[in-house]
Amino acid sequence: MSKKDKSGQSLNQIKTSTNVVFNLVFLILAVMCVIPLLFVFSISITDEEVLRINGYQLVPQVLSASAYEFLWNERLTILRAAFMSMLVTVVGTMLSIALNTSMGYVVSRRNFKLKKIYTWMLFIPMVFNGGMLASYVVVNNILKLNNNIWALILPLACSAFSVTICRTFFRTTVPDSIIESAKIDGAGQFRIWSQIVLPISKPVMATIGMFAAFGYWNDWFQASLYIQDTKKQTLQSLLNQMQKNIEYIANNPYGGLSLQEYKLSMPTESVRMAIAIVIIVPIACTYPFFQKYFISGLTVGSVKE
């Protein structure tokens, strides 16, 4: 800060004009992210009658807590769904980290004979996939996981994308010499992976862990295919189902009036938004934890060369 050139800037400082442009860009991006969230929140606290007449407004004219009261009255369903979401996310994320990093470690070792074939086996499903029917047959008919919580966990546990990230990370940031030193000390492959490689790979674990956690938390698709029992529904699939049910009825005028009448018993607009808020809050709270690893982890080295 002490040395200043003619324009009054310190040496490493970005040019003022560039700085302004960047700040503006990030400001706009941030606003684009925050506005929908504010909208969702403000609709959830708007009076239903006002919504009916005025449509959506950022600043609610008449406040009402009725949506949250409704959720409170339905707390058994909501809490059960939240618990299922939590369970699936926690178990799924741990399983996912274990599977992805171990597979990533294996294919990152240059002296592993089947490395090539495994890499191809990873690469192909990244580009093509078997489609919905095939996976349904596997999960439902072969594994018999219909209506089972594992049907929400297993299909998403391992992703070729995450494995590839792990592989690249292990290959570029874990030096061969540290693995060699472990080998000389008599460590087996499992010990090398779990006690040498993983402890210095927290950033990558945080990355794929975050992908997995968000994937599990936001997933409604698996539930819509495999879960019929309402007691095993996750929060996200509960919301999705409400939304889709309303859409279905709106888009099928030919189902007759008897179908349209069910619209009366559907949750109102503000209730749907309130559920969205309930979904967003917990996952937003986990961000800071991941953040910690991104900042500290990326600068940590282990071997001096």
Binding site: N245, S258, E261
Partner: protein, 510 residues
């Protein structure tokens, strides 16, 4: 001898390094081989048994005891009811002695329906009956997934046969065969203009004179000026009811149809028909005058409050459904005839799976559901004591609104016990409309589009691209319709029309 050679080969390839093994006496090897083979055979047998059991899954087995058969019925609704277990126990307790059926239900939520239904139909997941609508019906028949029940109806469904007029059975005929059982409810279509009653009173409107779309412009202009709101507030399918007078022949697109009362049965390009064209011109006029909401063509969900809209139903629905939906009192006015066509009948039907072992039982069950009031109430209202109670005067009092099954999917409305809150019997009204309905000239005819399926699909896509903007008045029909037609012609529209006309002529000729 053969076995011996086989032996050696196995040895040679499976154990290349242990030649010494092969040198052992072949008798010993043979014995080992036999043992292995026996094990393999046993294994295969086990696999087959397991496979068959798995194949049957929840359905079709349990035929042994007392001749009671297990049936699975897949239907749509608001998801599985929370008290399903206790409910189904009561249902089975009632129907087992009467028709010898042990029932299992799967209620798929509306939102998951299309996807899940197509999966379980295409992978042959075991079920005995499934709910469907017109589009599912034709697709399933083409897939060979439906049981041909034509010759079994008389013997197994006497009750429904008596309840439902024969013309409603015609509505589900495909090439003179019947594959589905319609639910006899509001199975014909009557359009009503639904007005905000406050406005009707304020402006002293004579609704009977406002049934033609062209006649509305004047009052809408006034409303727009006075209320500073859009009198016509629609979503991206626009003012779609204008096509309801055309029978789409099962082709699944609004632009191809035969007018329901056209005795000559001419297949037309509906957009060029004078009445549709003039309606579209009116829509465009409305759009320019700001009568229609300007964002209509991109909206996927309409507004709850409408000054005016057109909906299908019956007179007292104004009090029971439309009014409460909108949160205001409404005035209704019937528009046009009550029409009965394939589409209206197929709006809700149940099909018997081609894989079922007990098609007769399926029909008997549906017959029972349609005619037995006690059973019908169980399906419609849920579990007695949990979801509803019978009052002293034989009405139903709903305890809560939690029953997740959808009454319209199961069977007729006309055997359902009335609720204690109903002032009039609206089902009588619906029944009267049904009986007075004008049958479309094409009732019982389904266009077999296999010859032109690609072209038809292309044309359908072309219309879907224009639909939102035409139906909400954004585009001027004067320029747009020739544009659409030119594009359609390139995609083979003429052949589709010719093929349809050919089949229609054959149907009319007989």
């Amino acid at each position: 001898m053969k076995i011996k050679i086989f032996n050696r080969e196995i040895c040679a390839c499976a154990l290349p390094d242990t030649n010494s093994l092969c040198a052992k006496s072949s008798a010993e090897m043979e014995e080992k081989m036999m043992k292995w083979k026996r094990m393999a055979a046993l294994g295969a047998a086990v696999m087959m048994v397991v496979g068959t059991l798995a194949g049957c899954g929840g359905s079709g087995d349990a035929g042994g005891e007392d001749g009671i058969v297990h049936l699975k019925w897949v239907t749509i609704g608001n998801g599985m009811p929370t008290n399903y277990d206790s409910w189904i126990a009561k249902v089975n307790e009632y129907i087992e002695p009467e028709i010898g059926v042990n029932l299992e239900m799967e209620v798929i939520p509306w939102g998951d329906w299309d996807k899940r239904r197509s999966i379980i139909v295409s992978i042959n997941e075991p079920f005995d009956m499934i709910f469907g609508t017109g589009n599912n019906y034709i697709a399933d028949i083409n897939l060979g997934a439906c049981y041909d029940i034509t010759d079994m109806i008389d013997a197994n469904m006497p009750g429904l046969k008596e309840l439902m007029p024969d013309k409603y059975w015609d509505g589900v005929k495909v090439k003179d065969r019947i594959y589905g059982i319609p639910t006899y409810k509001d199975s014909s279509i009557t359009n009503y203009a639904v007005w905000d009653k406050e406005l009707v009173d304020e402006y002293n409107l004579d609704l009977a004179s406002l049934t033609e779309i062209e006649s509305l412009t004047e009052i809408f202009e006034t409303l727009k000026a006075d209320k500073n709101d859009y009198p016509v507030y629609v979503k991206n399918d626009g003012v779609y009811y204008i096509f309801d007078v055309y029978d789409q022949l099962g082709a699944g697109t609004q632009i191809l149809g035969v007018r329901y009362d056209d005795a000559d049965a001419k297949v037309c390009f509906t957009l060029e028909e004078p009445e549709i064209y003039s309606a579209l011109e009116t829509l465009h006029d409305w759009y320019q005058k700001g009568i229609i909401n300007p964002d209509a063509s991109t909206l996927s969900e309409a507004r709850v409050y409408n000054m005016w809209r057109v909906a299908q139903g019956w007179e007292s629905a104004g009090v029971t459904a439309w009014g409460p939906q909108m949160g205001k009192e409404v005035a209704v006015q019937k528009i046009g005839d009550t029409i009965l066509s394939n589409e209206t009948v197929r709006g809700s039907l149940n099909m018997v799976s081609v894989n079922t072992k007990y098609p007769e039982k399926c029909l008997q069950l549906l017959d029972k559901v349609n005619t037995d009031t006690k059973l019908r109430d169980m399906f419609f209202y849920g579990e007695e004591g949990v979801n509803f109670n019978y009052t002293e005067d034989g009405r139903v009092h709903k305890i809560n609104n939690e029953w997740a099954m959808a009454g319209y999917t199961q069977g007729t409305f006309f055997t359902v016990t009335l609720e204690d809150t109903n002032e009039t019997n609206q089902w009588d009204e619906v029944k009267a409309l049904n009986e007075a309905a004008v049958s479309s000239v094409m009732l019982g005819f389904t266009f077999d589009s296999t010859e032109v399926s690609d072209k038809l699909a292309n044309c359908r896509e072309i219309w879907m691209r224009y639909r939102s903007e035409v139906m909400t008045g954004v585009r001027d029909p004067k320029d747009t319709i020739p544009e659409i037609k030119a594009e359609l012609m390139k995609a083979g529209w003429q052949e589709v029309m010719d093929e349809a006309q050919k089949q229609v002529d054959e149907f009319m000729g007989k």
